[in-house]
C-alpha cells in the first residue's frame, strides 16, 4: 500500500533489487567521483606541473614540457642531501617508534589486567588526536632554552639537546609513536597464548620467546605502523621549522617553493611520493598492507 502511492520510487527499488550490479554502481559512483575527481586528478596534475616552467618575474606557471626541474634537483647537491637526510630521519624515527612500542605492547597485552589494558589502549590513542601543531608547540616549549627539559636536567649538570637534528628526531618520534604502538599492541594480543606456553615449555627463555616467536608474528603489524611513521616523517616541515633550528627537510624545501616556483615544488613532491611508493611496494609481499 505504502509503495503504491509512490510508483516511481517503487519501480526504482524493484529495478535495483533485480540488478545487484546497478546497486553497486549506485553506491560507488559518488565516492569514486570524489576520490578520482578531486584527489587522483590533483595528484596527476601535480605530476604534470612538475614538467612545466615558471616565469621568473611574475612567478606565473607556464605549461609546457621540460625535464629541467628534475635535472635541477638531481644536479643540486643541497637538494640531494636534503632528500637523503629526510629518508634517514624517517627511518630513524620508525626504528625508535618500534623500539618503544614493543615493551609497551608486551606490558599491555601480557602483564596489565583487563581494566588497565583498556585504560592504556585509550591512553595511547588519545594523544594521536591532540593535534600535530599543538604537539609541535609543546615540544618547542619543552626543548626551549628555559624549558622543562633543561630545568629537569640542570640539577645533574646536564642540558637538553636544544633545537636541532636530535630535537627533530625526538619530536617526530613523539608525534607518530601511537601509529606504531596501537597495531603492535593489537598484534601481541592476537598471538594465541599457547604459542607462548609451547615455546617456554620447550625450554625457551623470555628473550628467546620474544625474539623467535613474538617478533616474527609482529612483523606485519610493525610494517603497517611503519608505513605511517615513515610516510608522515617524509612529509614533515612544521616540526622541523619549530624545533630544528637550521635543519631542513624535503617538506621545508617544497614549502619554500610552493608560491615562488610551483613546478619545482611539484617535482620535489615527487620524491616523497616515490619514497613512500617504493616503501609500500617493498612491504607489499608481507601482507601488512591489509592491516592499514
Amino acid at each position: 500500500m505504502h509503495d503504491m502511492r509512490r510508483p516511481t520510487a517503487h519501480r526504482l527499488s524493484t529495478a535495483l533489487h533485480a540488478r545487484p550490479r546497478l546497486r553497486l554502481y549506485g553506491l560507488l559512483s559518488l565516492p569514486l567521483l570524489w576520490m578520482f575527481g578531486v584527489y587522483l586528478v590533483s595528484l596527476a596534475m601535480l605530476l604534470v606541473t612538475a614538467f612545466w616552467t615558471t616565469d621568473p618575474f611574475t612567478s606565473k606557471v607556464i605549461p609546457g614540457f621540460t625535464t629541467r626541474n628534475f635535472e635541477n634537483i638531481l644536479t643540486t647537491s643541497s637538494y640531494l642531501n636534503t632528500a637523503g637526510r629526510t629518508v634517514g630521519i624517517a627511518f630513524l624515527v620508525t626504528l625508535l617508534c618500534a623500539v618503544f612500542a614493543l615493551p609497551l605492547g608486551i606490558f599491555m597485552a601480557k602483564v596489565a589486567s583487563a581494566r588497565w589494558r583498556n585504560f592504556l589502549a585509550m591512553a595511547i590513542t588519545l594523544p594521536l588526536w591532540a593535534g600535530y601543531l599543538v604537539k609541535v608547540f609543546a615540544m618547542r616549549i619543552s626543548f626551549g632554552e628555559n624549558g622543562p627539559v633543561n630545568w629537569l636536567l640542570d640539577p645533574f649538570g646536564l642540558s637538553g639537546p636544544g633545537y636541532g637534528l636530535p630535537a627533530v628526531v625526538l619530536t617526530l618520534t613523539y608525534l607518530w609513536f601511537p601509529f606504531m604502538a596501537l597495531p603492535v599492541y593489537t598484534a601481541i594480543r592476537q598471538i594465541p597464548p599457547n604459542l607462548f606456553d609451547a615455546a617456554s615449555d620447550l625450554g625457551a627463555g623470555t628473550w628467546r620467546v620474544i625474539r623467535t616467536v613474538v617478533l616474527p608474528l609482529l612483523m606485519p603489524a610493525m610494517i603497517a605502523g611503519s608505513v605511517f611513521t615513515f610516510s608522515l616523517s617524509m612529509g614533515d616541515f612544521i616540526g622541523t621549522q619549530f624545533v630544528g633550528a637550521k635543519v631542513q627537510m624535503l617538506g621545508t624545501v617544497i614549502n619554500q617553493n610552493v608560491n615562488l616556483n610551483p613546478p619545482l615544488a611539484a617535482a620535489l613532491s615527487v620524491i616523497p611520493i616515490v619514497a613512500v611508493g617504493l616503501y609500500l611496494f617493498a612491504v607489499r609481499r608481507t601482507g601488512a598492507l591489509k592491516e592499514l
Binding site: 527499488s13 533489487h17 545487484p20 553497486l24 553506491l27 560507488l28 559518488l30 565516492p31 569514486l32 576520490m35 578520482f36 578531486v38 586528478v41 590533483s42 595528484l43 596534475m45 601535480l46 606541473t49 618503544f100 615493551p103 609497551l104 608486551i106 606490558f107 599491555m108 602483564v111 596489565a112 592504556l120 591512553a123 595511547i124 590513542t125 588519545l126 594523544p127 588526536w129 591532540a130 593535534g131 600535530y132 601543531l133 599543538v134 608547540f137 609543546a138 618547542r140 616549549i141 619543552s142 624549558g147 630545568w151 609513536f177 617456554s200 623470555t206 605511517f228 610516510s231 608522515l232 612529509g235 616541515f237 614549502n255 610551483p262 613532491s269 616523497p272 611520493i273 613512500v276 598492507l289
Partner: protein, 269 residues
C-alpha cells in the same frame, strides 16, 4: 607455561609508565601554561591566573578562527559521512574487479604525507582552476579536509557492516520491504553507532589539521591551528598560544573519547 619473571614485569611496567609520562607531559605542560600568569611563560610556573583565557575570549581573531575551524570540520564531516558510508556499503557487500584499488584510494590521503595532498590541491586550485576563472575560495578548504576524513567513516562503518548479520537484510527483503525501507529500518540502525563514531573521528581529525589547511585555505581565512602557526614565532603571543592549544586538545580529544565509548558499548553487547 609462559610467565614473565617479577623483575621483567617490573621493568616492563617502568618502561610503560615512562612512555605514558613522556606522551602526556608535553600536553599537560601546555595546558598548565595556559594558566601561567607570566607574559612569556617560563618554567616552573610562579603564579597562576585566568587572564590569558580572558584575553583569548576577547580576541576577535581567535573567535573568528574558532568559527572557521568548526564550520570546516562540520562541512568535511558531513561530506565524509555520506561518501564513507556509501563506499563502505559497496566494499563490504559486493566483490568486484578493482576492489583493493578502491580501498587503497580511500586510505591514500592519510597514507601519503599531508604536504603532498596539500600541494596537489593547491596546485589544482591555483594553477589549473584559477586560470580558467574558477575560484574555489573557502569551499576548497572543506574539500581538502573532506578528502582525508572519508577514511575515518569508511573504516568504522565497514568494520561494523562486517560484523552484522546479512541474513537480517535478506529476511527484510523476503518479507516485502523495498531497498530503501530495508536500509532505513534494518541496515542503518545496525551501523548507526559506527556511523556516529566515524563522524566524531572525522570531526576531530579536521578540527586540528594544519598541513592541508596551509595549502588550501584562501587568503585571509584562518582555522584555529593556522592562527597558532601564524603566531608561533611571536614571543609576546606565547601565552595566548597556550590557551588556543588547550582548546584544540580538548575539542579534538573529547569526540575521540566519545567515539571510542560508542564503539566499545556495541562490541560489549
Amino acid at each position: 607455561m609462559f610467565h614473565l619473571s617479577r623483575t621483567t614485569k617490573w621493568a616492563l611496567g617502568l618502561v610503560a609508565a615512562a612512555i605514558l609520562t613522556l606522551m602526556y607531559a608535553p600536553l599537560l605542560l601546555v595546558m598548565a601554561n595556559s594558566f601561567n600568569d607570566a607574559q612569556i611563560s617560563s618554567w616552573p610556573i610562579e603564579s597562576f591566573s585566568l587572564r590569558w583565557w580572558e584575553r583569548a575570549i576577547e580576541s576577535q581573531a581567535i573567535l573568528d578562527a574558532l568559527w572557521v575551524s568548526v564550520l570546516t570540520a562540520l562541512g568535511a564531516t558531513a561530506i565524509a559521512l555520506v561518501l564513507g558510508s556509501l563506499a563502505a556499503l559497496a566494499l563490504q557487500r559486493y566483490s568486484f574487479f578493482g576492489k583493493n584499488a578502491v580501498n587503497l584510494l580511500i586510505i591514500l590521503p592519510i597514507a601519503l604525507p599531508g604536504i603532498v595532498t596539500g600541494v596537489a590541491l593547491n596546485n589544482t586550485y591555483k594553477n589549473i582552476l584559477e586560470p580558467i576563472g574558477i575560484h574555489v575560495g573557502f569551499f576548497g578548504l572543506i574539500v581538502g579536509h573532506a578528502t582525508f576524513c572519508v577514511v575515518m567513516v569508511f573504516n568504522n562503518v565497514q568494520a561494523r557492516l562486517g560484523r552484522m548479520n546479512p541474513r537480517l537484510e535478506e529476511a527484510s527483503n523476503d518479507m516485502g520491504a523495498g531497498l530503501w525501507t530495508t536500509f532505513r529500518r534494518v541496515t542503518f540502525p545496525g551501523f548507526r553507532t559506527a556511523f556516529a563514531a566515524g563522524g566524531l573521528l572525522a570531526f576531530a581529525l579536521s578540527f586540528d589539521e594544519i598541513v592541508v589547511s596551509i595549502f588550501t585555505a584562501p587568503p585571509g581565512v584562518e582555522t584555529l591551528p593556522l592562527w597558532m602557526l601564524n603566531n608561533m614565532a611571536r614571543p609576546n603571543q606565547q601565552s595566548l598560544l597556550n590557551v588556543v592549544a588547550t582548546v584544540i586538545i580538548i575539542v579534538s580529544m573529547v569526540p575521540v573519547y566519545l567515539s571510542q565509548r560508542l564503539s566499545r558499548d556495541v562490541s560489549a553487547n
